[in-house]
């Protein structure tokens, strides 16, 4: 296909960034890598050197190793939350869009209700039952994702249900469920993938936010958000402690956003070309 290069570039840059982060996450788990969570108080606040490329933090952990290992928490939370959102939100959206009745109203209003709670509030509410930790972050962001996917699915499939080939399909004796699986879902798959990519980026940002205020990933598991929290009093002395995890967050979010935008233009060329 002959497409303009502007979003081709976005697609490849986004993919490259995401692939690098996945490689970094895998690399940080390799057995020959030294454990970045090891505390060596004697070596604290070292400037970058050959041994510690980005130096060490206030309790002597290797900053590069911590940041690399932090990728795992970010990706796990983002992927887990999107799985929850897609797994529950998409079926809800399709069911609600199939027919106009009280049931679909209930589903969509319930989603509006959940949508009113930011992930942060959900995380605080869940804190008592689930406790802080990676599962709390996944659940809180995941719950926030449900109405996002439910709405996208609802809006896209609502117009498809009214198309004539759906009526023709009904006349052949098919029921709602099989029409949803055969006709509707394949046609909205692209939109869901785009939304998933965007939500992955937002999930990384939300994980950093929750961990920053202590509602997300708990020690000793490294997380970019908590690294920021721990370094905030040292910003004047060693700015690298803030800049490195901060840069990692920005880059990861940028990667998913670029990919999401490029994919959505691919699927709906009207957005990109006049």
């Amino acid at each position: 296909m002959n497409r303009p290069s502007a979003y081709h570039r976005g697609l490849w840059i986004g993919l490259a960034i995401i692939a690098s982060f996945i490689c970094i996450a895998l690399l940080s788990m390799m057995p020959w890598m030294s454990d970045p969570t090891t505390i060596r108080v004697a070596e604290r606040m070292r400037a970058p050197s050959f041994e510690h490329w980005l130096g060490t933090d206030q309790i002597g952990r290797d900053l590069l190793g911590l940041t690399m290992r932090g990728t795992i928490a970010s990706l796990l939370v983002a992927i887990g939350a999107v799985t929850i959102g897609v797994g529950i939100g998409v079926p809800m959206g399709i069911v609600a869009s199939a027919r106009e009745n009280w049931f679909s109203q209930v589903i969509m209003r319930a989603n509006d209700f959940i949508f009113a709670f930011p992930a942060l509030v959900t995380a605080i509410l869940l804190h008592d039952t689930v406790g802080s930790g990676i599962q709390n972050a996944i659940l809180a962001i995941g719950i926030f994702n449900i109405p996002v996917f439910a709405r996208v699915t609802f809006n896209r499939s609502q117009s498809i249900w009214t198309l004539d080939f759906i009526k023709a399909s009904r006349l052949t004796g098919r029921k709602d469920l099989s029409i949803a699986m055969l006709h509707v879902l394949p046609l909205i798959l692209g939109t869901i993938i785009v939304q998933a990519t965007i939500q992955l980026g937002l999930g990384i940002l939300a994980e950093a936010g929750l961990s920053y205020i202590g509602l997300g990933v708990t020690p000793p598991m490294p997380s970019w958000g908590r690294m920021l929290n721990e370094a905030q009093t040292l910003i004047g002395i060693a700015p690298r402690l803030v800049l490195v995890p901060g840069f990692a967050i920005v880059l990861a979010v940028l990667g998913f956003t670029l990919l999401g935008d490029a994919l959505s233009e691919w699927i709906d060329p009207r957005k990109g070309r006049g």
Binding site: D164, S169, L171, T172, G173, L187
Partner: protein, 510 residues
């Protein structure tokens, strides 16, 4: 001197030549109809004139508007010319309006943008333009939003917006395609008035030849990006313009309907009613459909004919009344208006055609055989089974939709405007096909249409609907020859394809 002079215009997109050396001249006060099938390049030509070709298109040639070369102008200059010197009317008035702006503000916008008028003066001028476009006086355009008025009124508002600045050229791209016959006739009259009284030149782009023929001074037939015939409306003769004359002849409707057979009753509707949100869409409608008969249901948009079609097909349950049918071996099948919407874009034609077979446990070989057989019956060869809807023409897609409807050999097929979205040349073929299938299979058909010409050609019996009620019914020839109800008479009078005087005598002069 010509107002618009297009010389040797070519447009290439993705290394495909979509407009190929096109020449066209338009004089002040004249209406030129640019007629062609979809994909012939007629809309691209219109878009090239207003400087909005698809991105990445390469254009050569010249387009002169009143001595100004449009193709060499920059975006800013073109922006000034659009709206001021060239007024534009689109097909889809619903999509052309911003839903959050009142109708009046839409009409006033070009005044404020191009002339920098203040709000009050602009409103006065806008109201004047609305009056010229015969927008109903009793509607306050400045408090109404686009969704609150009818399609015909929106189209008038769009014309008003296009003529506020008294442009020299009005470009109308399928301005009446989405409208029903009476509204269509009114809009066409309005356009003719603008050309005659204001000396506006109008380029009318359409696939609807009868509509164009009623008002155009000159018709240009475009095919694969080339003008193949360009003649004055008086000169359309088989000798001077064989293709156009041929197209007119194919609209000519032969009154060759066989006598109505008093066969077995296939379906009987007893005082059917249907309400939607307190609005009566169908009210107390009764009818009888015999085996092998074609029942035509005619009426304007909003008359309830499509709702009735859905009830007959069993897609909607009537609120009152009942449908009595002979024991049908399989459900009623349906063919829809828009072939592109009636086929799943991700499915091959073969998959779509075979969908009704899903309840029969068939061996793959038998299934393929049934698909090929259905394709052959609608005049498509087996290779079409593997193609996707976007790879075939509208007519071919409609044939596939018909194949899907007949593959399980139903007794009754409901057709909801099956040819309205098709080009005239294809229309006739599809009608022939349906006629053949009806005779061959003894199929009973319910044929919904707003086009009396089409109804006359296919229907044995006619049901005329208005505001959900049947106001007249009887044998087609009788209803059309001696309409009893005033409304039916107005429909007959407004139907361009029935009104032979519009073009027939001219076509046969030579």
């Amino acid at each position: 001197m010509a107002l618009l002079d297009i010389t040797d215009l070519s447009l290439t997109l993705d290394s495909r030549r979509l407009i190929d050396g096109l020449n066209l001249i338009l004089e002040p006060g004249k209406i030129v109809g640019l007629v062609g099938a979809s994909g012939s390049g007629k809309s691209l030509t219109a878009r090239s004139i207003i400087g909005l070709p698809p991105r990445g298109a390469e254009i050569t040639g010249t387009i002169m508007l009143d001595g100004l070369s449009l193709l060499s102008l920059g975006d800013k200059k073109l922006g000034q010319i659009r709206g001021r010197d060239i007024g534009i009317v689109f097909q889809d008035s619903a999509a052309a309006f911003d839903p959050l702006m009142t109708i009046g503000d839409h009409v006033a916008e070009p005044l404020r943008w191009h002339l920098g008028l203040d709000r009050k003066t602009a409103r006065i001028e806008a109201q004047r333009a609305l009056n010229r476009a015969e927008f109903p006086n009793d509607i306050d355009a400045f408090s109404r939003y686009p969704h609150e008025i009818s399609g015909g009124q929106r189209q008038r508002a769009m014309i008003a917006a296009a003529i506020t600045l008294s442009p020299k050229l009005l470009l109308a791209d399928e301005p009446t395609t989405a409208l029903d016959v009476t509204t269509e006739a009114a809009i066409l009259n309005l356009l003719r008035k603008l050309a005659r009284e204001d000396g506006m030149a109008i380029l009318l782009v359409s696939h609807d030849l009868p509509a164009i023929a009623t008002i155009a001074d000159h018709i240009a037939l475009i095919e694969t990006g080339k003008i193949i015939e360009s003649v004055g409306i008086q000169d359309i003769t088989p000798h001077r313009s064989p293709r156009l004359a041929g197209l007119f002849a194919s609209i000519e409707l032969q009154d060759s309907r066989a006598e109505i057979k008093s066969g077995e009753v296939a379906l009987r509707g007893h005082s059917l009613s249907f309400s939607y949100r307190d609005k009566r869409a169908v009210e107390n409608v009764s009818f009888v459909l015999h085996r092998g008969e074609c029942l035509g249901i005619v009426g304007q948009s909003g008359s309830g004919k499509s709702t009735l079609a859905r009830i007959i097909a069993g897609l909607s349950k009537p609120c009152a009344g009942r449908i009595e049918a002979i024991k049908l071996p399989c459900p009623v099948q349906m063919v829809f208006q828009d072939p592109s919407g009636s086929l799943n874009p991700r499915w091959t034609l073969g998959q779509s055609i075979a969908e009704p077979l899903h309840r029969e446990q068939l061996a793959p070989a038998t299934r393929t055989q049934r698909i090929v057989q259905a394709l052959q019956e609608v005049g498509l060869d087996a290779s079409f089974a593997g193609r996707y809807p976007h790879e075939v023409s509208g007519g071919q897609a409609q044939r596939a939709a018909i194949a899907r409807a007949i593959i399980i050999k139903p007794d009754i097929v409901v057709l909801d405007e099956p040819v309205s979205a098709l080009d005239i040349s294809v229309r006739s073929q599809i009608l022939d096909l349906l006629d053949g299938l009806r005779r061959y299979h003894g199929l009973a058909m319910v044929f919904i249409t707003h086009d009396l010409g089409v109804a006359r050609r296919v229907a044995d019996h006619l049901l005329v609907m208005k505001d959900g009620k049947v106001i007249e019914q009887g044998p087609t020839a009788k209803v059309l020859a001696e309409p009893k109800h005033a409304y039916t008479r107005s429909l007959v009078a407004a139907s361009p394809s029935l009104n032979h005087k519009v073009f027939t005598p001219r076509a046969s002069e030579g």
